[in-house]
Symmetry: C2
Subunit: 533 residues, 2 copies
């Protein structure tokens, strides 16, 4: 060990600091400071990823806005190189409803501001962080504010703004607001200049857009890359997916602290009506049963319920049987569409199957799992299986190792379905596995929304869906194996029968006609016995 | 697909919502609301993990406080079952400097409040989230506030507080403050009642404490579990580790946005003195070189530097060679201590090695990687290698798949070092790998600080340290293999020589003495030839 330096000696002398000395260092941390120091939490770990994340946040927002307004989304993405491999300008434009001027600053220039955090409904965005974070990253790395153009209707002007974030206070700073000419009757355009690095192939913007198209066949995507690459992913249907409905929380997912807060804030006059109106799936009968089990009067005032009584209420809720949460908050892709997507994205496979599970619940949140498999054909047989992960129709391209989906697939015994698999690894073989989680609230492992966190209930549903598909795969694999065996036998028969025929002719002195008839009969018999094996 | 329900039809009708209608739903989200909904981000995914996370946050805080005050830490942890498998009360007590009354509410009742976020210095806590989050989780699940007892000196009273968080506003609510009798002259005690589940073995509180003891030999830990388990991990040394010094940011890690902010906020009067005083490793000469390369006068006022000039400054900084960041902000465990820890924790191995790399830099932050290996002996030969991960002396027990450490170990070619390894998996064999990252700022993948994020520079250092240890391992493995081969040959010799001797005696009619001499000579010759192989 090196001898202590003078500086270290000083540090030692400074030790024995009193509580008072330590107290002077305590400070508040603004959420923007926090995320600008921790920008990898938001997906801005490095230049390649930063470019993708910024595009992703803008596109996810565009799709959510269009769908909420009932518009079939037309999204354009352009990436321009300002300095190759170093600085890019991205622009994402949609035909959505636009944003009213008063909301623009906060939506783009303040972290933790949004419309979806306080609701239970399937959406791509949920945190109110993504797009402001992308803007903040741009500002941090290039010093330039975001540029927003938005128009809310054909008879209203298109307005252009420059939006920056005051990170020390997490507040927007808007400059240069002005009217501009724009050919769109309504929509929003977001431009961010940022440090980034453009690439193609795995985990690229292109791959993200292609996978987005798989899970969103109602979306039309036009893309132009900095190298001149153009791509048009046309919509396959003009019909929007069912609109998910906002739902109330389910009692089985409510914790004591939240219940106490809800009791304080409810507008309901009685405990009974509180249970019926502030929760989903609680009717007259269930409310009465809960109150009875908790030893509380349905007529009591919610605001008067004490902590210990609330605790009894939670216990009671757990004992009363309730319908599962209404699945109206979630809209899966559906088996038919999943199959179609798989076949169009991976046309080289020989076998396809898909399974959409019934809705289930974790922590009171309804969710639904879908799994699709593509197998065999011209897929590479010596590689690890390829996994496509989606959450609320958004492809997840990073952090597979952190994701419950990957972990569940690794923990699945694929040997059972006829595939090779090393311990602690994905199966090896010509296989693509697609897993989609749709939920009113997706539990991501970080704010960058790249991986799904460990919830036993979600893992269970993934496992069941994989098993369902796996069983079908096993049938296919074993049928194909039997077919291969049969084929082998058939080829033996075809190979040796003529020789046998020749031998018989020689031994028994048959005519050519007799020989051929004998061979035909013999072939038929052997073929029959082969089939009966 | 199910026919649209009445509710869905209504939702459809509601579509075509105007920008105005959508705007009414936008809301601010408080950071406490955000984390209480996303509590898995903080490590409170499930009951088992919640119990561990709460203990961990309290212990990490206790150790930081003691070390900052120059006190050899004495930490007591008690877990009491309130309702088995459901509700527990944890208490963590230290002999640190205590906390001044004015700071107690914010430290325990406000997220994003702390002393270490704005400094560059190795510490366990860095975000100002952990302990408040643990309290918030307790409050959320049991409705009970945290209880804090703190005393800042023998002649001051010990004070007891109940601290809760107003989650909608992220502000503390303190009740029931009073003086209490306490036998400690100074220190802090934290009590949290929470939903949890107690277990032993992997990822348990006990395992966390044992691993903590490995990386912190100066700490004395006493533990009592809810099942009566008692554990005393005695300190091995009373000498505290070197105290890390707070350092200034290194110019190579500074991004444009931050530079602009620093230029605005500096107290320096000239650009030259700004570069020298607000950064580490910039002397007179380097400052002049940077200014020259940027085409700026060293005498210019920092506040007057325009965005484009700052941009040139960043470019200039990149071209000027600077000393690596001062490593005084970090204090590694050290090779000697690492070896000792490995030998005491894993006494059953046959081979040990450790490597502490020189400090390196990612995004301007100095860091240092240490790797230790234990191999062979009585370690299980058929299992995947066991990995012990540490960041700033804190054991990381969860999310191995998300961690750069695991990924780097998986990407290492262990066959090269004589171990078996399946593609995409850890090596198989009697191996334990310990990896420690010490840094002034550890880039975790989430606020729960369970896994290290992907930074190329960190990955490179882990790889180099693993290679260094791997090469030593290969020597050992191949030497052992040669020894095993030799042993085999020797046993052949020992087995057959007597028979040969007997045969020679029969054939040549030797005396017993001659026979024995012949056998001795023969053995010697064969042994010699064996060694020369």
């Amino acid at each position: 060990m090196a001898p202590p330096t003078a500086a270290r000696m000083k540090a030692r002398a400074r030790r024995g600091q009193s509580a008072e000395a330590l107290a002077t260092k305590q400070r508040e941390i603004s959420i923007s400071e926090f995320f600008s120091k921790n920008r990898h939490l938001l997906g801005f770990d490095n230049r390649r990823k930063a470019l993708l994340t910024a595009v992703k946040e803008a596109v996810d927002n565009a799709l959510d806005a269009c769908e909420e307004a009932g518009v079939a989304p037309d999204v354009r993405i352009e990436i321009e190189a300002m300095r190759k491999d170093e600085r890019y300008r991205i622009a994402v434009e949609d035909n959505g409803p636009g944003i009213v001027p008063a909301q623009v600053p906060k939506i783009f220039g303040q972290l933790l501001y949004g419309s979806r955090f306080h609701t239970l409904k399937q959406a791509r965005g949920q945190q109110g962080i993504g797009i402001s974070a992308a803007g903040m990253y741009g500002q941090l790395t290039t010093g330039k504010p975001m540029v927003i153009v938005s128009r809310t209707g054909p008879r209203r002007p298109a307005l252009r703004y420059q939006v920056a974030i005051d990170t020390a206070r997490n507040r927007p700073e808007v400059t240069g607001e002005k009217e501009v000419a724009w050919d769109r009757p309504h929509g929003t355009r977001v431009e961010i200049e940022l440090e980034g690095r453009y690439h193609r192939g795995r985990q690229s913007v292109e791959e993200y857009l292609k996978q987005t198209s798989i899970a969103n066949p109602h979306v039309d995507i036009r893309y132009r890359g900095p190298d001149g690459t153009e791509m048009h992913l046309e919509r396959v249907t003009t019909e929007l997916p069912e609109a998910p409905l906002e739902i109330k929380p389910h009692p089985h997912g409510v914790e004591l602290g939240r219940l106490i807060k809800m009791l304080k804030e409810t507008r309901a006059r009685t405990l009974g009506s509180f249970l019926r109106t502030d929760f989903s799936r609680v009717g007259e009968k269930a409310a009465a049963a809960i109150c009875a089990a908790a030893g509380l009067e349905p007529a009591s005032r919610p605001g008067r319920i004490a902590r210990t009584e609330a605790d009894r209420l939670i216990e009671a809720i757990r004992t009363v049987k309730l319908m599962a949460p209404a699945p109206s908050g979630i809209v899966p892709i559906g088996e038919a569409l999943l199959l179609r997507s798989l076949k169009s994205e991976i046309p080289e496979a020989a076998f396809y199957t898909a399974c959409t599970r019934s809705p289930a619940v974790y922590r009171g949140n309804p969710f639904q799992i879908e799994v699709g498999l593509a197998y065999g054909g011209a897929l590479a047989a010596d590689d690890l299986a390829r996994v496509l992960r989606f959450a609320n129709r958004v492809p997840l391209l990073h952090q597979p190792g952190a994701c419950l989906i990957t972990r569940t697939l690794v923990a699945t015994d694929w040997k059972h379905y006829g595939l090779a698999q090393a311990r602690g690894a994905l199966p090896t073989g010509p296989l693509v596995v697609l897993v989609h989680l749709a939920s009113v609230w997706v539990p991501f492992t970080s704010e960058s929304k790249e991986a799904i966190a460990d919830y036993t209930e979600i893992q269970r549903e993934i496992r069941l869906a994989v098993q369902e598909c796996g069983r079908r795969l096993r049938l296919f694999v074993s049928r194909r194996r039997r077919a291969a065996d049969a084929e082998k036998k058939r080829s033996y028969i075809e190979k040796y029968i003529p020789h046998i025929g020749q031998a018989l002719q020689d031994i028994l002195a048959l005519s050519a006609a007799d020989r051929d008839r004998t061979i035909r009969d013999l072939s038929a018999i052997l073929e029959k016995s082969r089939k009966m094996d």
